[in-house]
Subunit: 344 residues, 3 copies
């Protein structure tokens, strides 16, 4: 499946979203991001005010869900996004995966089945390259049935999760009002975490001068060289450390993620570092008064105990619930754009 | 999770449903019930006539389903209710439970995720107190994201199932046209059956003078003292027996439920009583000609064999299918009211 | 469950679809098929042009999905069909089956539950006769609740799959523009394959003179005598062989299906014949230049390797993707008709 990452090149957006597959953040430039974020703000305002135009934007349109891997948040927020645009949702994560396993079906045929019925497909798959493969076969299908179904990635393996990165950057801009000159600290498993890969790249693509990314991870889980090479070509600086204390007091944004025990070869290595990667009220106390704490959720022990959650959740610097809700609005904007809506 | 039953107090309705969590029948008074039942009748008439106004009542609104326990009837009827109001449904029972188990997620975060995307949540959970917990955390979320998602209980553990009690009482009033002076007989496992707990309390809250509740159960499965204490404070009488024959001939309503073998410490105890708790055509023959037989469904051996079902189903006194259908209409009324619809 | 095939007789359509259960192709005559296929063409044109009338055809209507067996394509296409008509979909394949297994519920009660909430039910079930049983109990339910829910079969066991046959015949007519005088070759497991049973009968019912059906199957998997007896009463000829070469060069339509190893008593028997029942580019090379290759999908080894798929898919004679998409349009037409839409 990874072969399709080479075989298929996602189209650049360059101001025109209609009919384009959404696979990687690398398809976007600064201007594309501004278009999506402007649309997101308009849609959010419209939903909050109960404007009548919003639920008419995607009437007639059908979105198929192919989730070969469970994801409460991504699943629910895409469903809610399409529903609030007036569009329809078909398919269900378990229905699809069970059926396919049962019949030993192949992915090229399954995605083309969905493409025969729907205007767009949201795909989540455990294997890297699954979205590239889907885009490749949907393009073939266009020749056979005439219509133009698009695929939107909802995460494939350790590959990308572009809509998560979009909602992260939108939220970051939303709370800070500016990105130029910020100190943005990404913490956790930076080697395998696709969320932080996509976000780091997207910040690079946003072309924010004087912005610094701080990568805080255990030495064995640092940001991949590929991402760092990419950032070297962009107007953004980055630092690396395994001590949060080195950068915490200067951070404007603290983006927290989980470190999984399974990533370590032996338990002792994990035990030796894990306490340094747990966000608690005591840790947050050392951050700036006007910093913001983000997290892609779901969270586990990396944000301490349930009692810690209670305290962190009430801290005005914690914006992960806004971040979660923005996910729906960003996905509304993206769906509307790729489905050809021109009025937002 | 049970701790939240103490920690969170559900709001009384007192004539104003908008934005209120629906957790227990104790939130309703007589006047609230009359409002819901009036709305139910209007909606039922509207749906049957295909009135155009009904599918516009909840346009723009999204209802999230969090079912951590399967329930064909409750799930389908809530889905149909929201759909017939023009609203949208997101989430799926298995999707959610699988996903949450998979990621080891905690309930406070899952319900807040749904609350970020939806206007209301229908929650079904195997543990008592889950709905109280949900209401508690949704109230916290209001401070963080500004919007006001509500939770409606679709049953939590051996706790309550308030919409089942509402549809039961609605059906009872619908077929008898009055409740004052009726003899209402509840049969089966009255100790663990949440359906009968909620219904008994709701009849008490309806303030129907001269109404008598007859509790028919094996001695070890009688109505809990807590419920009886509650009824002592209300204008309703009750009797207790383990012999249906004591009350059958005088009963206006016979509400039948199942007794589960697992509730008995040894099989012999169960075997000794089970035949007395099976409704068959022969038993129904001894009831009044104008009595009504109700059952919350699904049913198993407690209504005899499939051949017995065939005969019971054709008896005009059997109203459990109407009861099932009324479930959809009552839920439509309740959803419309908590979502702020003022026109019904 | 099979007993209901005798106990319940599906109504003939005879020009009037409204409120009729759809269980077997034997309910249709030539004129009924022309009505459905005309409506299918109108709807397809309307969807492709984005006509505003289409999503209003089934507003107010609710379709319940009871899938006791997984089927990606049938499930998704029925969901998309109802959604594109503006109707609503409730239930989910896994939700239902899990719930029913869990509670040990019986099918007569489950289908009546769905019938209480929905205007129509799509049923897929592993046991033959399940759709007949459903129709029988829904008719009983009409007496109890007044409304008229209909069931549409999405396949029951080795019984029929009527909408698959409708979409197959529609596609065949769509690509050839005529059926009179055609050579239609059905290949694969003709004994247990319900798709080919329904299609053969439907072609017989379409009353196409001078049309020849060629049945190509291993001797132990030939078309059942019952189907052949039926065809003897219709204006259609048929031949039988176990060698594709006997008929391939003269075939206008080649309808390919899978042979399952499990159908053979010993592996050697299967191994000895299987290569003769694999469609590859080399086999297709021997077919007419203006022949068409159909397949109900999903496909496995009976269409060769993934590399074979790539070549077959690009051959203009392969119409299985059009066939798949037509499935949605045919189901839209059928749903609209049974739900009483008169404007198409």
């Amino acid at each position: 499946m990874e072969a399709f990452v080479e075989k298929y090149t996602p189209p650049r957006i360059d101001g025109d979203f209609e009919g384009k597959h959404i696979i990687t953040v690398e398809q976007f430039n600064r201007s594309d991001l501004d278009i999506i974020f402007d649309a997101t703000r308009k849609i959010r305002r419209g939903v909050m005010r109960g404007e009548h135009g919003i639920p008419n934007l995607c009437q007639h349109k059908v979105l198929a869900f192919l989730f070969f891997e469970a994801s409460t948040r991504t699943d629910l927020s895409f469903q809610a996004a399409m529903s609030r645009l007036g569009g329809r949702v078909v398919g269900s994560s378990n229905g699809i995966s069970f059926s396919s396993v049962y019949k030993g079906e192949n992915l090229p045929d399954t995605v083309r089945a969905a493409g025969c019925y729907a205007d767009a497909i949201v795909l989540r798959h455990p294997m890297e390259g699954a979205t590239y493969l889907t885009a490749y076969y949907l393009d073939l299908l266009r020749n056979q049935i005439g219509s133009q179904p698009v695929v939107i990635s909802a995460g494939d393996g350790i590959g990308e999760h572009p809509t998560q990165a979009l909602l992260d950057l939108f939220t970051l801009l939303d709370v800070t009002q500016r990105i130029d000159g910020l100190n943005i600290t990404l913490v956790g498993d930076l080697k395998f975490g696709r969320t932080v890969h996509s976000l780091a790249k997207l910040i690079g693509l946003y072309e924010a001068p004087h912005t610094t990314l701080n990568f805080v991870a255990p030495p064995s889980l640092q940001m991949p060289q590929k991402i760092k090479d990419f950032l070297d070509t962009r107007p953004v600086k980055f630092t690396e450390t395994d001590h949060l204390a080195d950068v915490l007091a200067d951070s404007d944004i603290i983006y927290w993620t989980r470190i999984q025990e399974e990533r370590f070869e032996n338990v002792a290595d994990y035990e030796s570092i894990k306490d340094a990667f747990i966000m608690t009220p005591d840790v947050l106390a050392k951050a700036k008064k006007n910093a913001y704490l983000m997290h892609p959720l779901p969270r586990k022990h990396e944000m301490g105990t349930p009692a810690d959650h209670e305290i962190l959740d009430r801290d005005p610097r914690s914006v992960y619930f806004q971040q979660m809700q923005n996910g729906m609005y960003v996905r509304m904007a993206l769906l509307a754009k790729v489905l050809g809506v021109t009025s937002i």
